[in-house]
């Protein structure tokens, strides 16, 4: 951005030098009109560039936000499915695979939650999403997680589903209002 502005300044300077050369050869009234016209044209070009830059910046920011919200929504949905499958059955031989998937999904959720908090800092949703990452980790990987004597827990599964649905709904709101 700084380079571009510096180049534009150099361009304007060169144009002024050319105009001075022209003005020496032309009638002074014509030269004045020409100079004013060129200054207006260059000013307009710079303004147009500035507006374009701002628009591009806003569009990129919006795209980035949408991408994080979308990825987070998908991860939370997958995490919810895996967690419900785990807590709605007694201990089985498939547990290690599910446990690995659950822990990895949570790490990824946490990574995206950190990005979300940066992009939506100060918003009510940012606080809720941050709290969610902590709560859901304790809820899903606490108690008898990775225990060979785990028994199914409908109440825990319901609680997990509620937490995930609540955050998913808020992320949907974000996606709509962006």
């Amino acid at each position: 951005m700084d380079n571009t502005l510096s180049n534009l300044e150099k361009l304007i300077q060169k144009q002024n030098e050319i105009l001075v050369l022209f003005s020496d050869q032309l009638d002074s009234n014509i030269a004045d009109t020409l100079i004013v016209g060129l200054i207006v044209a260059v000013g307009s070009a710079i303004s147009a560039y500035g507006f374009n830059y701002l628009h591009w910046h806003q569009t990129e920011k919006k795209k980035n936000k949408l991408s994080v919200v979308s990825s987070l929504s998908i991860l939370i949905r997958e995490f919810e499915d895996l967690s419900l499958k785990y807590w709605l059955s007694d201990a089985t031989d498939d547990d290690p695979e599910l446990c690995i998937k659950i822990k990895c999904r949570h790490l990824l959720i946490n990574r995206y939650v950190n990005q979300y908090i940066q992009l939506f800092s100060g918003s009510e949703h940012a606080q809720i999403v941050s709290l969610f990452s902590n709560l859901i980790y304790d809820k899903v990987t606490g108690d008898d997680f990775e225990s060979r004597s785990r028994v199914r827990s409908i109440s825990k599964a319901t609680s997990i589903a509620k937490l995930c649905s609540d955050v998913a709904a808020r992320l949907n709101e974000d996606a709509i209002t962006l």
Partner: protein, 120 residues
């Protein structure tokens, strides 16, 4: 300064709460590695726990039993434990686990019951 590398000094796969769950449970980590290391510390000496370097992730059940269990069984006060422990990791994702361990220690309560090993 004393150091525990969870992966090398204990297991690259820390899993479960009790010994009945796995050989690399939170209970096993606390009783076989963490508690002895704390007892060997000199005055004002710190204990650094290397969380990653081979470990991919932790469950809350392991972390609660492994770290907050020290308070629960009265081995050390939470204030002293928080002063002694330092955490090291190169993977930024593990910052979450460090924060959770500190939270679990702060939330831990002394159960006033002596430790009795879970049977395997």
């Amino acid at each position: 300064m004393a150091t525990i590398n969870v992966s090398k000094d204990f297991s690259p796969d820390p899993i479960g709460r009790y010994r009945t769950d796995s050989n690399s449970s939170g209970e096993a980590f606390r009783e076989d590695v963490l508690r002895p290391a704390i007892e060997k510390l000199g005055a004002n000496e710190k204990l650094t726990i290397i969380l990653d370097d081979g470990v991919e992730s932790y469950g809350s059940s392991f972390l609660v039993e492994g770290f907050a269990g020290l308070i629960k069984h009265g081995y050390v006060t939470k204030e002293k434990l928080l002063t002694i422990l330092e955490f090291s990791f190169s993977d930024a994702d593990f910052c979450f686990y460090r924060d959770k361990i500190i939270q679990y220690i702060k939330d831990a309560k002394y159960s006033s019951q002596p430790y009795s090993p879970s049977s395997k």
